[in-house]
Point group: C2
Chain length 385, copies 2
């Protein structure tokens, strides 16, 4: 089976980008990725587009065709397809593109993710985000994603004797890292007490426990073309790409405060890559909610995850750097794009080009993109060789 | 590269199915496909779900996870991902699943498509369908897909000296075939003058030139597992699966009444399969609009396409059987599902199980699924060996 490499990455700034439309954001990210790869549109065999909810945000489906059209590459006739898996759409698109290249059908593919969330009022946006839960049995009755996360947090505190501080710390870490990333939505540093004392969203979660509504797009170029890989200044190999799934509805799960799909996809990815956790130099996980960050790390590290909180091990210059990008919480959360920005951050780290937030000597990065709360889990392991 | 076979197919009836929700439709089709394949859910490695616009129709995204949940297979943790490419979502999902199996990541995959369109008023449904055009530059200004098809028809009549009858005949053919298919939305036979004299939708097109709003779901099981293929009573091989793309917006195209992506994907599929048109025994094309049927056949056969209309060659018992299923026009048009029903019809034909609408001695079938009007083109060639 042939090896697949990332040879180009590109991203817009993340934030409230009211002067840019979805198609403009996506095209900017795609163009930057091509330029970074040093290739022309003619050298692409297919376009994979990730997007979660453009149908509801801007009344637009047929997303990949739209992006292909606006960026002009429709002239070439190359296939364009959209992948959707809630907020795991970006990771899922990378997974599909990776499999398509591995199959031999395509050599070089651009994978982009985009979301335009701030053109609607925030209460409408939150309803739309609820569309990634069970719309009929959860969202219809007024449940929001934040309220589901809050229920999970309360249960986790009760069942596992977890303290508020054990998960309130994750936004603090993400904001610290985002302050060192030029493309971040937020660059302010916050403290643990800021998180705990901020405006409540759904008790016990405050506004700082939750990722923002952001606009943004991110794209990467992957290839199995030996010439392109050789000519690339620093190709990054996709060592593993796996997906797993859990029940969408919380009421269908036996235990609401564990994410078994995360455990499954991470284990399979480690196996696929031939690596173990000791080989991983940094993690990008899906920190849409602080409690979700803790549970993801517990699914990966078990009880050690909380000890690692207590020992401050998740900072960029410590033993288990986490969300050095700034994460969804502070770098930004344009749903369909985030899984691809995770891959971009990992690529930048593995290239050694992350500036002041560089993880020293990083050889392998594990990224985890999630749809719903533990429903869709996509794990990717990237590495230099 | 390993061969991939269809070993199971299943479909709901198509129609206005007010007593069934999207999740119920999808689960019924998937279960039928598994039963037809004679395998258990435990033997599936992944679920691919096709859907065009559930975000707008029923406020639900994360579609594949929803179907996985409701059908109970989330218990197994297997990956679930949705593919979207306008009304070509079904064909695109089959393409992605096929590539994923070819890559070696999965052996056996279920691919389902579903759309629930009749829970909203038809004028709302038509706006939602417009979301597969350019929402910002076309739909926003009141353009509907039917009006785009009508512009294409007028232009084609003017440029190519095509007569009304040359495309009005396609719904007549589809209704004839649908009358012999138990799962059809419509079973009435119509005449050429019925099409021409029916209520106008967008001049020159009438209500009979356009496919209906339907609910429905269709699913297939594909595999590269040698044991499963051997045990299958009549496995059907996927001989080719290709995609191509054209500009989404009509105003970006040099010529509005040709579908160059169709030409490209069909040519590539023939090349991939090692077949030529002389080897193809039947065609399922995307007859959402009568004019679209003619242009698709012209992209495949050139000027011969019109002669074949004049010689009545498109009926099931003639030389170039077309839409023997009844097509989108009469078998039904639940957007995300139709590309998969096309594959089901081809499978039934190749198994020799199509009853009174059976194409005699059919060995190879070509199916073409389209998103927008010529924007996304997916060609699949299925055959017995």
């Amino acid at each position: 089976m042939r090896d697949v490499y990332i040879i180009g990455v590109g991203s817009t700034k993340y934030g409230e980008l009211w002067d840019m439309s979805l198609r403009e954001l996506a095209s900017e990210a795609g163009l930057k990725a091509l330029m970074d790869a040093g290739i022309k549109a003619e050298e692409i065999d297919a376009l994979y587009g990730a997007n979660t909810s453009a149908g509801q945000f801007i009344d637009q489906e047929h997303i990949a065709a739209l992006i292909s059209d606006y960026s002009g590459i429709s002239e070439l006739g190359i296939p364009a397809v959209r992948i959707e898996a809630g907020a795991a759409s970006g990771g899922a698109a990378l997974n599909q593109a990776y499999l398509a290249v591995k199959s031999g059908q395509y050599d070089t593919v651009v994978v982009g993710g985009v979301e335009k969330m701030t053109d609607v009022p925030s209460e409408v946006a939150n309803e739309i985000i609820g569309g990634s839960l069970d719309a009929e049995w959860e969202t219809f009755f007024g449940v929001t994603e934040a309220s589901v996360a809050a229920m999970i947090a309360k249960r986790h505190e009760y069942d596992e004797r977890v303290k508020r501080e054990h998960y309130a710390v994750f936004p603090v870490i993400s904001h610290k890292h985002a302050s060192m990333n030029p493309s971040s939505h937020f660059k302010n540093v916050i403290k643990l007490e800021d998180v705990i004392n901020a405006s409540p969203v759904a008790e016990p979660l405050t506004v700082y426990d939750t990722a923002p509504l952001s606009d943004g797009a991110s794209a990467i170029v992957i290839t199995a073309d030996k010439k392109k890989i050789k000519e690339s200044e620093n190709p990054i190999r996709i060592k593993a790409s796996t997906m797993a799934n859990d029940f969408l509805s919380l009421h269908d799960r036996k235990k609401i405060d564990s994410f078994k799909a995360v455990n499954k996809s991470v284990k399979e990815a480690l196996k696929q890559s031939g690596l173990n956790l000791g080989n991983i130099d940094g993690y990008e996980i899906h920190d849409s909610y602080s409690i979700g960050s803790l549970i993801q790390m517990e699914e990966i590290f078990g009880k050690e995850a909380i000890k690692m909180v207590e020992n401050n091990e998740y900072y960029f210059n410590s033993s288990h750097p986490l969300n050095v990008s700034g994460g969804l919480k502070a770098h930004g959360n344009p749903l369909g794009a985030v899984g691809l920005y995770q891959a971009i951050e990992a690529t930048i780290q593995l290239r050694g080009k992350a500036g002041e937030r560089q993880i020293k000597g990083s050889k392998n990065m594990l990224i985890h993109n999630m749809g719903g709360l533990g429903t869709t889990s996509v794990t990717t392991i990237l590495g230099v060789e």
